[in-house]
Symmetry: C2
Subunit: 341 residues, 2 copies
DNA sequence: TTGAAAGCGATACCAC
DNA sequence: GTGGTATCGCTTTCAA
């Protein structure tokens, strides 16, 4: 049988002080002389006192827990480069501060709503991360209604929620400039799931960058961030009477799908068409040709999000944060425009 | 400002009964007449009463939370086919029963130990999942010492912990039989990280299956479950004076690495060498040739693990469970042995 | 500065 | 059956 837990009362008794003094001493609150504090700390260590999280939660009205609801199909999750790093980053930030992460997965929209409602009703978490935000996402209104502290990841500039962002613009601009410098004038775009905010952001960045380079947008295919979507886009774009000489894809997975499809159509990459991705997944370094892409840093995003959320929970306010830009990584899937095009 | 929470006292007052009766009524405990129970439930609904999880935790000595500590590098996680499905499965099982999952990530061994210790000291979770078990894993002793209920996933047959297993034997036997039927006599093996229990299990299964088919084991390369490891194994095995005509890899990722390396050495797959993987990751269906592999079902494992862990927490004992066997999926990376070999 | 006592919101035991 | 109350282990007022 487990020995009875050492409680704050044991510490108080042993140190010959009141429990309130122990509490103040151990939580660094004022109201105890330095000498008693030292004695209390000493005794607490001797006794191996660990304050009960449950009791703290009940009396302190905090769960010391934050939540992440992943609105995605588990199968999609398998190929997702974001969450592993993001979660690791969150952990780095919250663990030292005594918080833990509750993770929930749900594919369907209504399901996700229910998760948030339940999380809030149970007061299981003190705050939540909002990722994969959609345009006019109803979840934003939901967490506001629920009064749950929340930080948004890569939300729009007009986010009503505190936000941490990694700007895609810089990386995409670099990519477009890189392609332009290689002589490409007809640059197509393979988008991601259109209602997702970051799909829009990326596409807008692409348009803006083209304009800056004095180019007009090439054909655009609406994709879905999947391998198969990228392959389908290749089938469409490369069958065009005047096919693009370069393609920017909304993520690496679709870029890889695009490349595979192109090659199976006998169209060489990057000989006939240059392809660039976005994310910098590991597979991008393994495929042939190795993928030119924009490197994002989910771990930094997670770390900053975690820090922000806890600051928000504990102080009630935080400033938005921007992590260093996503940057272009040039590999082998982009090359000078073929002669005669 | 958030309205004051509706408590059990409010419900009791409104229903004109004692709080203890409300508690009994709402938790389906005996000791209340059917009529008062109905009235209480009615009132609770009217008032929108949601019992406080925090108070329940403190008085009921349960956190209604279970933990998963992932002993892995976040970068590796990115390509891992297991956790997405596994976590989704856990959730399916625990959410309806009122539990949530705390996820922690840690790469270094001592770090992981500390996580478990902290989880236990804080009593943050009521139980934990043990995955990626190593041979003579010290974590098993740790959770026993810590007295934390735990279920082991794919542990050895002599596990001191309740376990849920998916047998790799059947699938690997099928694979070997498939290769044997194609005429292969010289079947190599590319292993996984050697101290991991499931690496051993898979290699043993391979040996046993070969023996059953009357074949002697081909060359074995110790891998590490990575793409690069698979590629390195190909470089080694295919440079042998008498190279194998077929290779079984400990997982799909290394199989894909193997294939890529083989082809870059000008050795056709499956023309010159057949390659089979293990896991059935999505990429396996995208690569050319599409990968012959053994399909595992992490989601089922998660679901059963979740169910078991909660049963264990609530009843103190459970029986081991075996989910349906991993099965062979034949695609294009395996073919008849080339003539003359 | 220190200590006593009132919450926090349930569960569970024990009278009646 | 039902109602009162001690208990879980802290935090936080408020007197002394």
């Amino acid at each position: 049988m487990a020995a009875r837990r050492v409680t704050i009362i044991d510490v108080a008794r042993r140190a010959g002080v009141a429990v309130s003094s122990v509490s103040s001493a151990l939580n660094g609150r004022p109201g105890v002389s330095e000498s008693t504090r030292e004695r209390i700390v000493q005794v607490a260590n001797e006794l191996g006192f660990v304050p009960s999280l449950r009791a703290k939660s009940l009396s302190g009205r905090r769960a010391f827990t934050v939540g992440l609801v992943v609105h995605r199909d588990p199968d999609v999750l398998e190929l997702d480069p974001f969450f592993g790093g993001f979660i690791a980053g969150i952990e780095e930030a919250i663990d030292p501060r005594g918080y833990a992460l509750v993770l929930q997965v749900g594919a369907r929209g209504d399901e996700v709503h229910q998760r948030y409602r339940k999380l809030a009703a149970d007061r299981r978490v003190d705050g939540v991360f909002m990722v994969d935000l959609e345009v006019d996402d109803p979840l934003i209104a939901l967490v506001q209604e629920l009064q749950v502290p929340a930080v948004a990841v890569n939300s729009g500039d007009d986010s009503p929620l505190p936000a941490v962002r990694q700007d895609a613009n810089a990386g995409i601009r670099e990519t477009v400039q890189h392609l332009a410098a290689l002589g490409h004038r007809r640059v197509a775009y393979v988008g991601g799931r259109p209602h997702l905010l970051h799909s829009l952001q990326r596409e807008n960045a692409w348009r803006a960058a083209l304009a800056e380079s004095g180019l007009t947008p090439g054909p655009v295919v609406t994709g879905d961030f999947t391998y198969l979507g990228g392959a389908a886009a290749a089938a469409t774009l490369l069958a065009l009477p005047d096919p693009p000489t370069a393609v920017m894809c909304a993520n690496d997975l679709s870029a890889i799908g695009f490349i595979t499809q192109a090659e199976s159509m006998g169209i060489d990459v990057p000989g006939k068409v240059s392809v660039a991705g976005f994310d910098d997944i590991q597979f991008g370094t393994y495929v042939r040709p190795a993928l030119t892409t924009v490197r994002t840093t989910p771990r930094e995003l997670g770390r900053e999000s975690g820090r922000m959320l806890i600051d928000l929970i504990e102080t009630g306010e935080v400033d938005d944060v921007t992590v260093p830009d996503a940057r272009l990584v040039v590999r082998d899937s982009t090359a000078p425009v073929p002669p005669g095009r």
